[in-house]
Point group: C2
Chain length 169, copies 2
Amino acid sequence: MATPIQENLVKSNQEYAAGFKDGDLALPPSKKYAVVTCMDARIDPASAFGISLGDAHVIRNAGGSAHEALRSLVISEQLLGTTEILLIKHSGCGMLTFQNQDAHGVVAKNLGAQAEAELEGLDFLPFPDLDQGVKDDVTFLKGSKAIPDSVAISGWVYEVETGKVRHVA
Amino acid sequence: MATPIQENLVKSNQEYAAGFKDGDLALPPSKKYAVVTCMDARIDPASAFGISLGDAHVIRNAGGSAHEALRSLVISEQLLGTTEILLIKHSGCGMLTFQNQDAHGVVAKNLGAQAEAELEGLDFLPFPDLDQGVKDDVTFLKGSKAIPDSVAISGWVYEVETGKVRHVA
């Protein structure tokens, strides 16, 4: 039996598909860029960052980690022709609120030893300072040999309280 | 000097922020679920999957890999209270078109030995069959001890040609 969340997906998608007119867009992003941002529920990249359908790759993970995004970014650039990266972290990020040992402790307490063993050594990639986190990720991407120097890389903060972005790096 | 992509971000965001009224949303997703999907430019999860601002975590990477998303999913569930996962891959995915050795070959050819050394052993996570890829990722998540059995997990395909989703697993 479908859950309410699954029912919402099916019903909302039926309405979307009924008016869908973009079935001929090409695989490579037309504006040749990639955005890396957080999975946070309060971010709608298309609306907040001006991304139309077909424009750009959008990579999202907990914290908007450039390290975890590197695989996707290499595919984006080397196989699909993008030439620019916008890295956008955000205010109020959950990743600012804990350390690795806290997350591992929660897993062990809630899920038990087998779960904690499966995640042993996992870096949950928290970061203690927002602006510094953006700068560090931009520095990492600029230093990576897997991202050519010709790729433009910039770092931003999105404020979930105001809907505004500001340039950081 | 700002690139045209950066100028678009700033200008589009100014318009978005001018009408922004959702500054008081809570950090945990209000509908308590997470979506894992691909970075593909032809997917707008909010519109196509019926996700309103604040509803759900949205995790996106090349191919919509559940393996790479596991870190984010554990944070989503254990620290931010979500209890359901929708895994949605899509037709026409670039990850269906190459093998690991191809991607490593392109990196070595375009970026040189230092770049390839940095990515040595990296699994780019391509998959040869779409529906099987969805089933495999659902099986992986259901088998992971880090995702409790109480979490509802379903797998879907989004058709970029029609805008429609269909249930797979």
